[in-house]
Amino acid sequence: MIEFKDISFSYKKGKGVTNLNLKLGDGEFNFLIGPTGSGKTTLMRLIYFDLVPDSGTLIVNGFKSKNLSFSKTSKVRKEIGMVFQDYKLLNDRNVYDNISLPLYVLGYPKNQIYDRVDESLELVGLQNKKHHFPDELSGGEQQRASLARAIIKEPSLILADEPTGNLDPVASFELVRLLETINETGTTILMATHNYSLIKGRGLPIYEIKDGTLKQR
């Protein structure tokens, strides 16, 4: 469960988010929309403890975002699957190595890792790009590889930051469908997007952030 209580944060060079109040229950699927530069990525970074709030209380899966230690941060992140807006794939490793990394971190045995990678590559439709390096993938393929890396460890929370930016409408639709399927198994999901038409009419809660302040739509 994620809980923002009066969270404010500002970057050294100004701007950020102010007085966020938000409660995401376990197993929920929420969307986050807002114009460019409004603070969506900032909000997500707060959740995975990459930024520490200036004031207010933030609790993620029972951990407070305060007095962070390396081990506390790493414990929280082990539970989160992240699709970064800029993918953050490792350029010197192929798709297989990129996607298997979280499983090595979690200490899975090798044979199991192999099966899991295959499985998640199939889910995102990259089964025949396993040995491509990131710069040998199209923009949309990189984005899907990033998704595969996020879901492979079956995390209890998925943060997807603009995961359809480089996908065509069909692929975007399928991606949301995939996330919905994953959500049905109990995974909490928060997805930031600009594509309002993609998410409207699904009956899922949509939060809107504008100039750093949040409201439910």
Binding site: Y48, D50, V52, L68, F70, S71, T73, S74, K75, V76, R77, K78, E79, I80, M82, F84, K88, L90, N91, D92, L101, P102, Y104, V105, G107, Y108, P109, K110, I113
Partner: protein
């Protein structure tokens, strides 16, 4: 778990191969630094030997008073032999002196003069094995106090200078080695930091994925260990070669006959120390790098 360990060790190895340039340079630097310190160790090990060589060459000539009997001279020489710092004392009787003079100057003084003008004397050799410096003045004074001695001749200043300067140098060795080890650490730290910078992306990813500190740091430490092992493999033949080459030069270009030796035990201990330093400084550097962004 085993798969995880294998993975980390392989990562360490791959790190080296992925950044051949950095690895090569760090290998090179580490080798230079290890080589230099090893040479200091060798020098230190061998100064003692060189000193022994000099002491062995150094002779004190003692001339007894003219009227002394051979018997008394013998007893005086055995007294001299007991003085601390003296290795041997050999009596040279009047007849011996005559023969030696004839050998050296090709002139039979007895025939020329009709009598033997040469006095009874003794040649005193200094102890080679004394670890503390030898105090020549003290020894001369002790010899003189034996009695019935006309004069004592010794080449004097050279060995005194060497002994004095050796002691001075010896006092500075700890500073020198300390300084070199500091440079060593700086080099390793710098290398690891370069290696870290070139893998910023990976480290950042690992942090975001929630990898533990151990998981992130182990490959770097393994990398450090491997590089130091490689430099040992590289430096050892170089060390042997240098020592042999030096001995060859000394043998061929100087009248100096001592040979220096490589003491593998101290070198091994030193290698072990380098290893420990590498592991510690890899760990410290890498973990300080992790702290930049919590």
């Amino acid at each position: 778990m085993i798969d995880k360990i294998i993975y980390l060790v392989l990562e360490g190895l791959k790190n080296i191969l992925r950044n051949k340039g950095t690895s090569f340079i760090s290998l090179f630097l580490l080798s230079i630094s290890i080589f230099t310190i090893s040479m200091i160790i060798v020098a230190n090990d061998n100064t003692q030997k060189v000193l022994q060589y000099f002491r062995g060459k150094y002779k004190i000539e003692v001339f007894f008073k003219d009227n002394i009997s051979d018997q008394r001279a013998t007893s005086l020489v055995s007294k001299i032999r007991k003085i601390s710092g003296v290795r041997t004392a050999t009596l040279i009787k009047k007849e011996d002196a005559l023969r030696i003079f004839k050998d050296q100057f090709d002139e039979d003084i007895l025939k020329v003069l009709g009598y033997n003008p040469l006095p009874v004397s003794a040649v005193v050799n200094l102890s080679r094995t004394k670890k503390s410096g030898i105090k020549i003045d003290q020894i001369i004074r002790n010899i003189k106090s034996v009695g019935s001695i006309e004069k004592v001749i010794y080449q004097g200043s050279l060995i005194k200078k060497i002994e004095k300067n050796y002691l001075r140098f010896k006092n500075k060795i700890p500073y020198l080695v300390g300084f070199m080890i500091l440079i060593n650490i700086l080099l390793i730290v710098n290398t690891i930091r370069l290696s870290l910078v070139s893998r910023k992306q990976l480290i950042n990813n690992l942090k975001l994925i929630g990898a533990s500190k151990t998981f992130i740091l182990t490959p770097f430490m393994i990398e450090g260990i491997l590089i130091s092992i490689f430099s040992f493999i590289f430096v050892t033949p170089l060390l042997i070669g240098t020592v042999e080459g030096f001995n060859y030069l000394v043998l061929n270009f100087s009248s100096f006959k001592a040979q220096i030796e490589l003491d593998f035990t101290s070198i091994m201990w030193f290698y072990l120390l380098v290893m420990v330093i590498t592991v510690l400084s890899s760990y410290r550097t890498a973990s300080s790098f992790l702290k930049i962004k919590a």
